[in-house]
Each structure stands twice: as C-alpha cells, then as structure tokens.
C-alpha cells in the first residue's frame, strides 16, 4: 500500500504535500477526488507520526466562533459517512461532548455559545449540574455550575482515520512517501518551482504545507513568517474496560478532558500552563512526565470518583501548533504563488481537518475565493483585530 523505502521520488508532480497526518492525507485525497493528477505526499517519519497519531480523537462542534463551528459541523457530516466513503472502519462514535464549568462567571459565555451554535444548526443544549448526571452517571457535580452538551459531537480513532485516508489516496493514484525528508524548496519568479528531498528532487507548481508543528520552519524556507508557536501536550490511556462512559467530558475550568474509546480505554489529558514551548524544531521533545500523570489523576478522580481503581496503562505527548487566536491558518500568500498552508490548528486539526481539506482542495484547484479560507488567512494577523476562539481546552 505504501511504496517501500528504496523507491525514488518522481521527478515531477502536480502537487507536493508535506505531512502525512490527517490534514496532509485528507488534502491529497480531496485534491485527487477533485481531479488533480500526480500528487505526492512526503512524510519524514511514518503515517500519523506527528500530531494526529498522538491526539485524543475528539470531534466537537462546540466553539465560540462561526468559522470553527461551521468547519467542525461540516467535518462531522464527513465523519458520519467516513468509514463507508474511505472503505475503512474509522471507529467514529457520536457519544456527544459534555463541556462543564465550575465557575459561575463562565455561564454567560456558555449560554452565548449555545445560542451561536444553534444558529449555526448545531444541536447544543445548556444543562444544569443535576442534568449532567443523566449524561454521565457518577460524575461529581457538587462543584459544577453548569454545562453544555451536544449529542452529535464524538470521537474517532486517529490512526484509523489516517490509514483510511492513506488507502483511499493510494486507490486514487496519490504517491505517499514515508521516511522522506524535505531538504529544500526552490521558488523563483514569485512561484514554487521544485522541492528537494533526501530521495531526490521533484519539480512541482504546488506545495501544500501540512507539517503541523514543523509548519513554521517549513514556511520559513519560502520566506513566509508564521506566528505559530509549538507546545508539548500530554495524554494517556487506561486499561480497557467495558463501555460505561458515553460522551467526551471536558472542563473549561481546568482543561481536563476524558472519553472512552471503542477499545474500552479511557483516553484523556489535561492542559498545563507550565508545558514547554519551543522555537526550534531541533529542541522539540515529546517525553512524558509524572507531573502530568498526577495532575490528570487528581482531577479525574475528583470529578469522576468511580475511576479511582482504574489503572493508567500508558502516557505519551504530542505537539500543538498554536496560533495567536487559536484558529487555523489556511490559504496561500500573495508573495509565493503555488504555496499553501493548512496549519496552526492549535490542538484541533483532527476535528476540523476533513472539511478544511475539502475546502482547501477546491480553493487550490479552482482558485475560487472561499469565505472561510479568506477569514482564516495569514493576512488576518496583520490587521491586529483578532477574534479568538474561547473554548480551547487540553
């Protein structure tokens, strides 16, 4: 299914995509579906080895900006049919997202978010603490002030989504090269001309930067300065248990989130203001720490005491590619024709990726303006009038 290491890269392509996470593979798939030929995906490690394969698999539509709500809702519609469309079981399950708060002052924002989401067609409801018990029996609601719940939010298995897109790409003739590193980009006369890799040179008129936490250093190779910063975030799974927890539970008070995967494991993480950030990709480190395990266990057992005797099995870390307003950066730049970026998802590329890829493929193949891509372009940071999404958790 994937060409083995020894095969050289083709000398020419119609588009080169860097990164075989969800955004790179979904974009390659959508470009191929929209008729582009000779598409190459370059991945320096293995499929999903960057942020996608390390993520929690959550897919929610509960956001506070219209672009995020719309992209997430459209992505949910794709996820609902994804296993059939890709011909691969991606374990999408709509158990909903329960977003809780322990702070009275959050309630007006939660209510406003419900109103906005409902106007966008997302069926979110505001719940009292007691009503949360109908969704998650056993939750300690003593300190809760309120919650919102959308039954159409859910989870999928990140690697299965990656493998499903990779297989569908392969069927459409996309060439995916793993263990292949981009070493240089040639731009001349204001256009992308070629990319160099450790397996050869590929001339191409189109380069799509889907490199996640490495997107900023890649963009710098063509003189594009991205405002993204890269952060480590940690996550864990428990031993597998029989199904007992339907939704993803997520706290906007302290950044904990947890759900139960279809393998039965509790999957969860918690944000930490002390997480390291890096400028240079050489310094990226995704080691796991006891600090995370203890902080997560304390919050999990406080909110959901029945987990006290459940065993944590494995923890790991991944990278968020974070923008100043916590929203992705999409589109191209006027200075370099043929260069596009799909990055800066700030921890939410898995849930927004399918529709971002579809819209970006349309934009790349037709050049037709897309209002969401325009509003999420790099140019927005020059204006200084940013509309940040408030519901960034984990």
């Amino acid at each position: 299914m994937i060409p083995l290491h020894s095969e050289p890269v083709p000398s020419a392509a119609d588009a080169v995509i860097v990164g075989a996470g969800i955004n790179g593979l979904a974009t390659a798939y959508e470009l191929a579906r929209q008729g582009l030929k000779n598409i190459v995906v370059l991945e320096k490690n293995y499929l999903g080895s960057g942020s996608t394969g390390r993520c929690g698999g959550g897919i929610r539509q509960q956001w506070t900006t219209e672009e995020n709500i719309q992209l997430a809702a459209e992505s949910v519609a794709i996820y609902e049919r994804m296993s059939a469309e890709l011909g691969y079981q991606v374990f999408f399950r709509q158990g909903g997202y329960l977003m809780i708060t322990e702070q009275e002052e959050d309630l007006p924002a939660l209510r406003a978010a419900v109103d906005l989401q409902r106007r966008c067609g997302v069926p979110t409801d505001f719940l009292t603490p007691r009503e949360c018990l109908d969704i998650v029996p056993g939750l300690d609601v003593g300190d809760l002030k309120g919650a919102t719940f959308c039954p159409k939010d859910g989870t999928a298995y990140p690697f299965a989504v990656v493998w499903g897109y990779a297989r569908a790409c392969h069927r459409l003739g996309v060439k995916i090269f793993i263990k292949t590193t981009l070493t240089g980009i040639e731009a001349a006369a204001g256009r992308i001309q070629a990319v160099d890799t450790d397996r050869g040179r590929i001339s191409t008129p189109v380069l799509v930067n889907c490199a996640g936490p490495w997107a900023r250093s890649l963009a710098a190779k063509v003189g594009v300065e991205l405002p993204n910063r890269q952060e480590r975030h940690e996550i864990m799974v428990s031993e597998p248990l029989k199904p007992f927890l339907d939704p993803m539970v997520i706290s906007i008070t302290n950044g904990i989130y947890f759900s139960q995967s279809m393998r039965g494991e509790i999957v969860g993480g918690i944000g930490d203001p002390a997480e390291p950030r890096w400028e240079d990709p050489e310094d990226f480190a995704t080691h796991s720490g006891l600090r995370f395990a203890v902080r997560f266990a304390r919050e999990l057992t406080r909110l959901y005491p029945r987990t006290r005797s459940v065993r944590m099995m494995r923890q790991w870390a991944g990278m968020y590619d974070v923008t100043p307003d916590h929203r992705p950066i999409l589109g191209g730049v006027p200075e370099v024709g043929g260069y596009y970026h799909i990055c800066g998802f700030s921890g939410h590329g898995f849930m927004l990726g399918p529709m971002v890829a579809r819209r970006m493929a349309g934009f790349i193949t037709t050049g037709r303006e897309d209002p969401i891509i325009t509003s999420l372009s790099l140019a927005r940071f020059a204006g200084g009038d940013l509309q940040a999404d408030a519901f960034v958790v984990g």
Partner: protein, 99 residues
C-alpha cells in the same frame, strides 16, 4: 486458515499472520506496526511480545535485529491506579532537555 494459528501478542490477540500481513501492506517499521496491529499496546505494554515482533520484522526485512530501533517505552512501567497516582505530590515542571 491454513497451518497453526500463532499468537504474537497475547494481550491484544494479534496473530503472527496478521503481523506479516501488515508488513506486506507497507508497515515496515516497528513503531507503525505496533500502531497498525496493536502489538505491544495491551496490558503488558509489549513486555511479552515486542522482542518477538522485532525478531520477526528483522527476518521479514532480512536485516540483523541490531538495525531495528525499539519502540518508545511509555510510562508507567507497570499500570497504576488513578487513585494511587492522585495520592502523589505534583512534581515541579521539568526543564525540556531529556527526550
């Protein structure tokens, strides 16, 4: 199925043939084989199977096992309950040096 069914990973119930089929599909690294087949992701976290899986992969690729990189070891070394973990002191943030 022809021949005896050989279990490679007992926790996740992965057979040797499933492991070989994944290799034929293009998963030629231990890290990606672990994720694709589930080998080593169960309760014992690979203590009972990853060396066997590595030996099989070395044979499939016709290389000495010393050329393979082991998968990243994830904490905890033995599963611990959330109750036990919650009773510990919260360590100070570590400097981002080790990897």
């Amino acid at each position: 199925m022809s021949g005896p069914k050989i279990i490679l990973c007992r926790c996740e119930d992965v057979t040797l043939e499933e492991f070989r089929a994944a290799y034929r599909e293009g998963f030629t690294e231990l890290e990606s084989l672990k994720r694709y087949t589930g080998v080593g992701t169960g309760f014992c976290q690979g203590k009972g199977c990853l060396s066997e899986a590595a030996a099989e992969l070395a044979a499939l690729r016709q290389i000495p096992p010393s050329e393979l990189r082991p998968t990243t070891i994830r904490p905890p070394s033995e599963p611990m309950t959330f109750g036990q973990l919650a009773s510990l002191e919260i360590p100070e943030p570590a400097a981002p040096e080790e990897s």
